[in-house]
């Protein structure tokens, strides 16, 4: 059976008041994909600029080629309500 392909998504800034090293985020995502038998693709790293979600938006635009995105934390999603809602619509609906 063909493995599902997932792109990692990591942060380079704090979220929810905590900082997780990028290599640790990648380790966690890679391990998750292994356990789920997903093929893991090199993580996209969000820009560190405040409130930026440019990399996430691009990753979502590229979803036609892959099966989904694995982020380290749900708290890495944009905090602006409208933006968050748009992303949930794109991802879930």
């Amino acid at each position: 059976m063909k493995k599902k392909i997932f792109r990692g998504y990591i942060y380079s800034r704090e979220f929810m008041g905590e900082r997780v090293p990028q290599n640790v985020q990648n380790l966690f995502i890679r391990d998750f994909c292994n356990k789920k038998n997903f093929q893991y693709l090199l993580s996209a790293t969000e820009y560190a600029m405040e409130s930026s979600s440019m990399v996430l938006d691009q990753t979502i635009n590229d979803l036609k080629k892959i099966d989904g995105i694995v982020a380290y934390s749900i708290f890495q999603l944009p905090v602006k309500k409208k933006k968050e809602l748009n992303i949930f619509k794109k991802l879930l609906i």
Partner: protein, 155 residues
């Protein structure tokens, strides 16, 4: 020096492992670092990477948040005509400032690109998201630093 050197492999026509336009400093790296990029093959055209020259970098980072750049592809389109594709051969090395935006596109050539990249910095320069011990290790300490580490205050 970076603890683990990165190996980058770019197969022809592979669009799964591209690096969108970015400056490493936009992803948490400190500007007090330089990147050493070592190709293991001759790199040219779409088999190589692109860099945005410093003058153009200055223009793009001014009022960055007001430029309505919804995603990194739009950013690339904005700088597409200004970037320089680096012609570099096996045996040569590229050292660049990681505050310069760079990236790659789908390798349309017939050969795979193999390259190493590694970051170097001064031991006591400011660190970004990548810290000493977890990402960097000291390799060359100056004599005065070695002396200072063993310093003991008189009791």
């Amino acid at each position: 020096m970076q603890i683990k050197i990165n190996l980058s492999i770019q197969f022809p026509k592979d669009d799964s492992s591209l690096l969108a336009t970015h400056a490493d400093t936009w992803s948490g790296d400190s500007p007090y670092e330089a990147v050493v990029w070592l190709p293991l093959v001759d790199c040219y055209k779409s088999k190589t990477m692109y860099l945005l020259p410093p003058k153009e970098t200055k223009k793009i980072i001014e009022n960055f948040s007001k430029k309505k750049l919804d995603n990194s592809e739009i950013l690339y389109k904005k700088i597409k005509k200004k970037v320089e594709w680096i012609n570099i051969n096996y045996g040569e090395v590229l050292i660049f400032d990681q505050a310069m935006p760079h990236g790659n596109r789908v390798n349309r050539e017939k050969e795979t690109r193999w390259s190493f990249n590694c970051r170097f910095k001064s031991l006591f320069s400011p660190y970004g998201d990548k810290k000493i011990g977890e990402f960097f290790q000291p390799i060359t300490m100056k004599p005065i630093t070695k002396k200072a580490i063993s310093f003991k205050f008189p009791r």
